[in-house]
């Protein structure tokens, strides 16, 4: 299995499309960081205004942690899109390029091949988010410095620097797991068709439509909300609650895992029975 994963990673590394996500992040993150450097006073004032009357703020609360926290809130459509660029190719490209005529005639089971492709996609997903963390936390801490993290979304939470690092790491770990669900969805579409564009469109369509449904305050839509997997995407946010709601995190991850298992199950069923005619 390790050999198969190695192969899939070689393919991902060799495709220029795989680098779009990294290039995008390398362009976007410096821009955001530059914006934070030059607009931090304004953001600092906004935060102080929100905290006004309750706290006396000494110094600048705007640092790499807060910047990362804000960035993570804004990238929930972009990151899935960047992931689908690689995940969409994972199965479909081998079909359309005729690679399956070579690989699927060897004495290796289709299931093993499919699992290795999924795991390689997960590794790519994790690498992309770690790269994102490198820019926002790593480079961000050099540019903006570190300090306490103050969040005000779920009441006021103040975390000292050592806690902030831990919460950030937990948050990114949870974000990786969330994005693996997105990758599995796209992977499923990739196993259904023979071109990489369909899975990208299908995945993004489902995510955007789900977000739209969640945004409509109608009873009918509220009833179906628990069945939308994007509802549980915000699990990474739980890392910034105090105390950390492990039960809630476990439940959300469990639901996302069930969705992933379902998506992968469909992919397996389709792929094992698929006639390779191309």
């Amino acid at each position: 299995m390790l050999g198969l994963i190695h192969n899939e990673l070689l393919v991902i590394i060799g495709r220029w499309r795989s680098y779009i996500g990294f290039i995008g992040i390398s362009i976007l993150m410096p821009l955001i960081l530059w914006g934070f450097v030059h607009g931090s006073n304004e953001l600092h004032q906004d935060y102080v205004r929100e905290l006004g009357g309750t706290f006396v703020v000494v110094g600048n609360i705007f640092n790499a942690f807060l910047a990362t926290y804000i960035i993570m809130n804004t990238l929930w459509i972009h990151i899935p899109f960047l992931i689908t660029l690689a995940a969409g190719d994972s199965v479909a490209a081998d079909g359309s390029n005729g690679i399956f005529r070579i690989t699927l005639t060897r004495s290796v089971s289709r299931l093993k091949i499919l699992i290795s492709k999924l795991l390689a996609t997960y590794i790519y997903t994790a690498a992309l988010l770690i790269f994102c963390a490198f820019w926002s936390l790593g480079v961000g801490s050099l540019v903006l410095g570190t300090g306490d993290l103050i969040t005000i979304d779920n009441g006021i939470l103040i975390l000292d620097e050592s806690q902030a690092w831990i919460r950030m790491a937990l948050s990114f770990a949870l974000a990786i797991l969330v994005m693996c669900t997105v990758a599995t969805l796209c992977f499923m579409f990739s196993a259904l068709v023979n071109n990489a564009v369909g899975p990208i469109i299908g995945t993004m369509f489902l995510i955007i439509i789900s977000y739209m449904i969640m945004g409509i305050p109608l009873e009918f839509f509220e009833k179906i909300e628990p069945y939308l997997f994007v509802k549980y995407f915000n699990v990474w946010w739980d890392a910034f609650k105090d105390p950390i709601p492990w039960g809630e995190i476990g439940k959300k991850l469990g639901i996302l895992s069930l969705y992933s298992a379902g998506f992968f199950g469909i992919a397996v069923k389709v792929f094992l029975a698929k006639d390779i005619k191309t």
Binding site: G98, I99, T105, V108, K277
Partner: protein
């Protein structure tokens, strides 16, 4: 038998691509698989190599059913199905290493098969820089990677220029001479006749005929040899009396004789002994004659 198909059947929608096909490929044979476009050759080969699941019937390789055992039945099989497609952004060597890694083939075989297929010096170049002929040779290299006992080749010379076709043909002949069983579908009948010991012909998914080429030609009265002699009528009379001559007729001043390869020397000696001068002996029978007689002149191979 190294490969058998039992009542193999596959439909796509309402169209029956392969219908109740029974084939038996003996070990060591070079087996040609012929039929018009759309006759079900590729579908059959894809069922043999686990790319397509049959609706009914099964493929048995070395006693193992492909349908029951999946790809594990393909352990001793190398296959090249139509055009050889690889990851173009990777080198030929990397592509082969990836395939070796898949089924645990010894990595040392990678360079061996590259050398074998004449790609040893270009192994580190990206596949996208290869000519079509080189890609096809790389395709054969990957088929040879796991040291197969059975090689299944579907139109291996398709899309190649004459030079590329010759390269691939020479390689197949070389492999055949080493005793590897080869099952090959090809458009080129003269090529099949040159390299194959056996042949099967299918049309509309059904088997028309199968067997040793020479037996098929003899049975179909198509095993003809042109003999140029000075006394035509005498020669016809003499040869027609021989039990090992299937038929003998004169056409202009030339005899057309139905005689097996093993009796040609005997025939010439007989003619000479009876004071009939023989100026030329030209084998005229081709697989094309058999093909056309079985599948009709309208067929496109």
């Amino acid at each position: 038998m190294i490969l058998e198909t039992n009542q193999l059947t596959k439909s796509f929608g309402l169209r029956k691509a392969v219908d109740n096909l029974n084939l038996e490929i003996p070990e060591g044979a070079v087996y040609g698989f012929l039929g018009p476009n759309g006759s079900g050759k590729s579908t059959t080969i894809r069922m043999m190599t686990a790319l397509i699941t049959p609706d009914e019937g099964e493929v048995i390789i070395q006693g193992k059913s492909v349908q029951a055992n999946g790809n594990t039945a393909l352990t001793d099989v190398g296959a090249l199905i139509e055009r050889a497609d690889f990851h173009k952004h990777l080198s030929g060597e990397t592509n082969l290493k990836m395939l070796a890694r898949m089924d645990g083939t010894d990595m040392s075989r990678v360079q061996m098969v590259l050398d074998r297929t004449g790609l040893g010096a270009r192994g580190n170049d990206k596949v996208k820089t290869y000519s079509q002929g080189m890609r096809q040779r790389l395709g054969i290299a990957q088929a040879l990677l796991s040291n197969p006992k059975l090689l299944i080749l579907d139109e291996p010379t398709n899309g190649l220029d004459p030079q590329g076709m010759k390269e691939v043909r020479d390689l197949i002949q070389e492999l055949a001479s080493e005793g590897i069983t080869i099952f090959i579908s090809s458009h080129l009948l003269d090529e099949v006749q040159k390299i194959c010991s056996h042949v099967a012909m299918i049309s509309l998914g059904s088997l028309i005929t199968a067997g040793k080429i020479e037996d098929l030609l003899r049975d179909s009265d198509l095993l003809l040899t042109e003999v140029h002699v000075n006394k035509v009528e005498e020669a016809v009379k003499l040869l027609s009396d021989q039990s090992w001559i299937h038929r003998c007729e004169a056409e202009d001043s030339v005899l057309r004789v139905g005689v097996g390869q093993e009796h040609i020397t005997e025939m010439v000696q007989l003619l000479v002994k009876n004071n009939i001068q023989v100026s030329a002996v030209i084998p005229k029978t081709s697989l094309e004659d058999l093909y056309l007689s079985k599948l009709g002149t309208e067929s496109q191979i």
